[in-house]
Amino acid sequence: MKRLLVGSCVVVAVVALVVSVGVSQGKVLKIGNFCDRLGPTQTVGVKYCPGFHDYMDLINSRGGIEGYKIEHNEVEHGYAVPKAVEGYNKFKAEGYLAVVSYGTPITDALKTFANRDKISLLTPGFGISDVEDATKFPYVFVGVASYKSQVAAIYQYIKEAWKENRAAKIAYLFYDNPAGRDPLDYVRELPKKLGNMELVGEVACPPPCAEASSQMLQIQRLNPDFVISHLFGKGPALTVGERAKLGMKATMISLVWGFSEDEVNVNGPAAEGYMGVNFVVMPEDLAKLPVAKDIADMYKKGGKEPPKEMNSIYYVRGIMNAALFTEAAKHAIKAAGGSAVTGEHFKKGMESIKDFTGEGTIAPTTITATNHAGSRKVRLYKVQGGKFVLVKDWFEGPHL
């Protein structure tokens, strides 16, 4: 038995060595993806990451980009920072030009490395405000509406929807970690700027927010007209259920990580009236887009059924990441002008993205050398009859 143990360790080591001798053929661009399939956010990861890979496969099956094939791999980090750092270094060693980050602590750990190594890091919806400063982090891109932009859009909607004479009372319910606290300045200051609304309370749900009834009772006592909810994991589904149980009158509007099919599936009819913003279209809209049909056709050609993950909002987000990177790759290849595409070219490619809609999945997005934040626009949806109904098409809120 002990020999077996030692033997298997040796085998693992040898195979690992063999792997590190990579073989490259043809013109290839390498774009990586981080994923959490086993950690605390695995319910998101298992739907989010296939979207990325399917879209990259689709691009390759269409013949690649300007003669280049996309080589795409994934590092599963289980939301653990040391594993992510190791995986990032693996990507770097294998010559990856761009990587999609996953998770706020992981993005935080990788942002200085990305600058040093000239690897473009895409961090859509992970709430690290300081990376939006393109002068400080020239290789980090947000691309879509940040938490602050989402909060601004929600306030904008409230201002338009509120018709009564008194000020609208608003409560902010948030996950008590850096991601949840990220938009706090917008939450506090925007009501004063917009007028006719006031923030009546900030209610924190400490991680992992697996129990939220006391928070919901606290909100009930505040008696707000609107609740802006910014939770992760099981929190959103729990609060949606509690809200129905308490018979809360307030309209609950969620940021992007709390508004998915999960909240509807878990709560059924209790989710009616739940609202949320998102920077991608909902899966029902995706199904109507040509890109969804193309992916389904690609699967059918391989003799397989289209993946069931396609019914998830997170799958659309995976497509969005891949689409932004393939668009950047197109510009990067042009910028390289026949020579080998480098990290600098890829950065230029990212900064050349103009009015790009990701095959209909995102708002027209422009990224420039000075603006890495991309689009601030979101769509607002409402749960009606167990479905997501569009309330307000692409719009954005005011700046602070």
């Binding site: 143990l5 693992v12 080591a13 994934e74 599963e76 289980g78 040391p82 190791e86 405000s129 300081d130």
Partner: protein, 338 residues
């Protein structure tokens, strides 16, 4: 040098130093160096935790929190006082030692599982305070800080290779200090307390003093680890030091060997390398035609990793260090195994 009494051991030590400072940095790739850096940083923390858990027998689930204190101290020294890293590093160690002593006080009254819960509280208290002390951590609501890389004179330690030298030096100092400590009066007092605290007290060991000292020294190591992590990533966020960090470090010392300094290093290497090794092996098998998707590989990796840990614990409860000793003994007696 008194730690190594045999000529062969001394020769081995010199050979090891030559490899670490000469051969490795010249030949290893950036990726290999980055892995060694991660192992090096983890080793410091694992040695520190082993001094507390393996030698003194006081369990701690607060390792992550203590590392966070070290990381923030180093970052604040660097940002607010513009202190060089050689000043920030010991400062991180000492400040964490103070905090560690504070949370070590319950160890005088409670033992075993109860102490585990008390130190778990330390973890959460530290996390909460770092998140909510904007006046201390600054930079808005997030409490994350960005620092410049460590510098030595005009040399900026920003590449993996340069960081490697820094980390390996600190890790070596930490190892030698711990090995010396283990054979000193203090180390023996720790072991006496671990084995039977009442007997230790009757023999004149001041339990109060040595339990607190164990927490102080262990926390000092944890603080240095946190500071090294801060200088390695150049980013400090308490989210890098959550409860799973504490559990990872406990796993390192249990797999490596409780009560053994080299075992701590082996354990740190195991926890850092094994998941990556299995992942790369699976990817190679896929390239050679093994069916499966990226998603399934993640599960297989975790299953193999878990299985490896369970097998180690069943077959070699004394950890990797015991296996290493057995290999050494085999060659010491070679070719006659009796």
């Amino acid at each position: 040098m008194a730690v190594y009494q045999l000529p062969l051991a001394r020769f081995g030590l010199v050979a090891l130093l030559v490899v670490l400072f000469g051969v490795v940095p010249l030949t290893a790739s950036d990726y290999a160096l980055s892995i060694l850096n991660l192992v090096g940083i983890a080793s410091i923390g694992a040695i520190g935790l082993n001094l507390l858990v393996g030698f003194a027998g006081q369990i701690s689930l607060g390792q992550g929190g203590f590392m966070a204190i070290g990381a923030y101290t180093a970052a604040l020294f660097a940002l607010r006082l513009e202190a060089p890293f050689w000043l920030a590093l010991p400062a991180a160690g000492f400040s964490t030692a103070v905090v560690g002593c504070l949370f070590g006080i319950p160890s005088l009254r409670v033992k075993g599982l109860y102490l585990a819960i008390a130190t778990l509280a330390a973890q959460f208290i530290i996390e909460w305070n770092l998140l909510h002390s904007g006046w201390l951590t600054g930079q808005g609501a997030q409490g994350a800080l960005v620092i410049e890389p460590a510098t030595l004179g005009s040399l900026v330690l920003d590449t993996e290779r340069r960081k490697y030298y820094l980390i390996i030096v600190v890790a070596l100092v930490a190892t030698v200090a711990a090995r010396n400590l283990a054979r000193s009066y203090i180390g023996r007092a720790f072991v006496a307390i671990r084995d039977q605290d009442i007997a230790a007290e009757t023999m004149g060991v001041n339990i109060f003093r040595y339990k607190l000292l164990a927490f102080a020294i262990s926390s000092f190591y944890a603080g240095v680890t946190g500071a090294m992590w801060a200088y390695y990533t150049q980013v400090v966020s308490y989210e890098h030091f959550l409860i799973n960090t504490s559990i990872d470090y406990l796993a390192m010392i249990i797999i490596g060997g409780l009560g053994s300094v080299p075992g701590s290093i082996l354990g740190a290497a195991f926890i850092t390398l094994m998941p990556a090794g299995i992942r790369d092996a699976l990817e190679a098998l896929k390239r050679w035609g093994m069916p499966g998707t990226l998603g399934n590989f993640a599960y297989v990796r975790e299953i193999i990793f878990g299985l490896a840990i369970v097998l180690f614990l069943i077959l070699e409860p004394e950890g990797l260090y015991r296996i290493w000793r057995r290999i050494k003994d085999y060659f010491r007696l070679w070719p006659f195994a009796y």
